[in-house]
Symmetry: C2
Amino acid sequence: MNERINRPPEVPMETQPVTLVNVFRVPAGESEQFLQRWKDNARAMVGQPGFIRLRMLRSLVDHAEMRFINVAEWASGSDLDRGYENPDWQESVQHMLGDPDLHVTAQPRVYEVALELHPGDSP
Amino acid sequence: MNERINRPPEVPMETQPVTLVNVFRVPAGESEQFLQRWKDNARAMVGQPGFIRLRMLRSLVDHAEMRFINVAEWASGSDLDRGYENPDWQESVQHMLGDPDLHVTAQPRVYEVALELHPGDSP
């Protein structure tokens, strides 16, 4: 697995809400194994300060290049940074990276919310 | 603009919740104009049956290839299909596509939620 999973690019929004979008390229036959491993990783995240919500999205198309996308909402860029520095997370990710049965690459990117709409809103 | 914005790939989840992830490649200098136009489009979506939430994410990195990502949650694949067939949406998108000042490509993809976690959950 690409080590980029281990560290998102620099987050310039120290005190503002940020959303991490991590695109995972996963061979089709390794999807279930990847997801199970990733759940183990996620356990280290859900108790971190500033963690709001994550959704791991799985493509509905078999041949998808971007097979999984993790969308994780954090209260601030600083909280996201601290979450990634958490030793439990680091250890869990290293364990997954070292698995010879997984051939996954990750591209984490950090975003701000430019627009959020719910039913009935007036954009 | 690429016409793929106009229609996501086939959605096989007729009755299950789906999430549309639309990756927009937008020249840096056209970001504000694109976002304003896209808000006009979104107006046609928020009143559709089965629409739950959308968030337009903007990259915090200037040189980002995936500058904007729209993450839209729908109650079912059928609702998403109907939303895209809505004449107001079609007209709004055609208007944006015809704008010679915008040079945007879109890659819509449909996902299911494989995992959703909130603070304190046990994955």
